[in-house]
Amino acid sequence: MKTIGTIQEEIVEEFSLFEDWMQRYEYMIDLGKSLPLIAEEYKTDSHIIKGCQSKVWVHAELEEDKLNFTADSDAIITKGIIAILIRAFSNQHPKDILAADTDFIDKIGLKEHLSPTRANGLVSMIKQIKMYAVAFQTQLN
């Protein structure tokens, strides 16, 4: 199994292959299409991430000792962003998720190419993923 760090490096490398941000946006849109979708029953207010201007729902489930994330959004680019995060953090042990750096986001240059509201939303998504990890780590202990 790949570590979070390895996956993040892969993502950074993929993003570096593109010449401009239009291509990166196209790539994010594609990634959004492969997002593991949240079950409709979880698309409730308690799964909404606050701080995003488009709607984003994230759900986490523990399978043995690994945490798996599903999500959805009503905006396509937002789906791409959450797909990148889920690829980095899904199917990992909660304690690894908690310990993981998130500086790959800065390395991609994603934040500075998002509108301020979307950049805030991105921070909220990371926070939510970490919160799930805290909750499930407690459960495992």
């Binding site: 239009m22 946006y25 849109i29 488009s54 905006a75 998002l114 509108s115």
Partner: protein
């Protein structure tokens, strides 16, 4: 002679690049750009005569006071107010509205009614809701029609002898609809109600004559009409402003102060507590001079051509729906394409250097009415060009192709 290319040279910001592309600035309803002439007035103030006003004995203070009061006179003339002291400098439209709402807290009683329109900006909704909570007055809403205009029949039915105040924007920020404010003012007055018009979106395109309108209160912000942010005005009829309690306590707004009792200064100072935004006030005057130098009617005529051209261009795009189709509207197009989220299109346009607004435009009730999360809003100014509209059309087409 109106020459857009020559006018654009007054705005250095318009020649910058964004994400490697020449900027196309179509977010003018949020804030307009500032011409060199206005920026120079601000720097001139700080370089040559920065001083506190209305109380210094020295030369700089006198020059600053004169410039500030001259700006007040410019604003008075522009809106054709009867007296300069009917023009109160504020931090902007929102503060102007809050000033009136706060004043009415002691004038309203339980059961009084306030009428607002369904087309309002949050800043013209929330202060009145707070006022109603304080006083027990009832807030009633003039409904809107599908094409984005006010339902005037419903307005007449809602008006009654209990109606104390009516608040309507001159132009809707989300849709660009120009509201029939003369009719609203006349009908409200027949029932004895006072009227506040939020002119923030109208001021860059329409010259309001407050005496001809017989409006009770008219408010706007300088930054919508080529002035700086953080300054605006509250026009009110003398008799009404005199009867209204002061908004904030402090220096400048007093006549005498003892620990037993303070007497308030006369208008306009009663509502201008503390050291004001002096450079901003002076620049507000300069911005009106700049706009009037071109001519508001000339501006409106050119913007109408831009609007017609842009409406035709955008309507050629498959699945594009325009919200707000009033016959009378300013150069604003609010739209969505199919079921694509407005943020998605806005983000991609930004990558192409095209600045638009996306979201609910601080008018959530309008979005709820259309059952949409928001729109993309392109708002045009006299310094925009037909070529920029071509780039907008091409940009939307490219974004849609990527997102579908």
């Amino acid at each position: 002679m109106f020459d857009v290319n020559q006018l654009r040279e007054d705005f250095p910001i318009l020649s910058r690049k964004v994400n490697g592309q020449p900027l196309v600035y179509l977010d003018n309803a949020a804030t307009s750009q500032t011409p060199k002439q206005v920026v120079e007035v601000i720097s001139d103030y700080y370089y040559r005569y920065n001083a506190n006003i209305h109380r210094g004995v020295h030369k700089l203070s006198q020059e600053a006071t004169d410039a500030y009061e001259k700006a007040r006179a410019t604003i008075q003339n522009h809106f054709n107010a009867a007296h300069p002291h009917e023009i109160i400098f504020t931090a902007g439209t929102t503060e102007s509205i809050n000033c009136i709402a706060s004043g009415y807290a002691s004038l309203l009683k339980k059961g009084d009614e306030l009428l607002i329109s369904a087309l309002e900006h949050h800043s013209n909704i929330v202060p009145w809701q707070m006022l109603c909570e304080k006083t027990g007055a009832l807030l009633k809403v003039i409904p809107m029609t599908l094409e984005g205009t006010l339902d005037m029949n419903a307005f007449e039915l809602l008006l009654n002898s209990k109606t104390q105040l009516v608040f309507v924007n001159h132009v809707s920020n989300a849709l660009g609809t120009i509201n029939p404010i003369q009719e609203i003012i006349d009908k409200a007055h027949q029932k004895g109600a006072k009227v506040l018009i939020d002119g923030a979106q109208a001021s860059p395109h329409i010259k309001a004559d407050v005496q001809a309108l017989d409006v009770d209160y008219y408010v706007t912000s300088a930054h919508k009409l080529c002035g700086p942010t953080g300054v605006g005005m509250l026009y009110g009829k003398s008799a009404l402003l005199n009867a209204l309690p002061a908004y904030q306590g402090g220096g400048e707004m007093i006549a005498t102060v003892t620990f037993e009792k303070t007497t308030y200064a006369d208008l306009p100072h009663k509502f201008e507590a503390g050291t004001p935004n002096i450079a901003g006030g002076i620049a507000f005057g300069a911005a009106l001079d700049y706009m009037n130098g071109i001519g508001i009617e000339t501006i409106a005529r050119y913007e109408a051509e831009l609007l017609a051209y842009a409406t035709t261009a955008l309507q050629r795009i498959d699945g594009l729906k325009i919200y707000g189709e009033a016959k009378e509207k300013t150069a604003v197009i609010s739209f969505n394409v199919g079921s694509i989220h407005p943020y998605d299109i806005g983000s991609i346009l930004d990558q192409m250097g095209i600045a638009v607004r996306t979201g609910h435009h601080c008018a959530q009730p309008i979005m709820d009415f259309y059952k949409i999360p928001g729109t993309i809003r392109a708002s045009f100014s006299f310094y925009n060009t037909f070529e920029e509209i071509d780039r907008l059309e091409a940009g939307i087409r490219r974004a849609v192709a990527m997102l579908q």
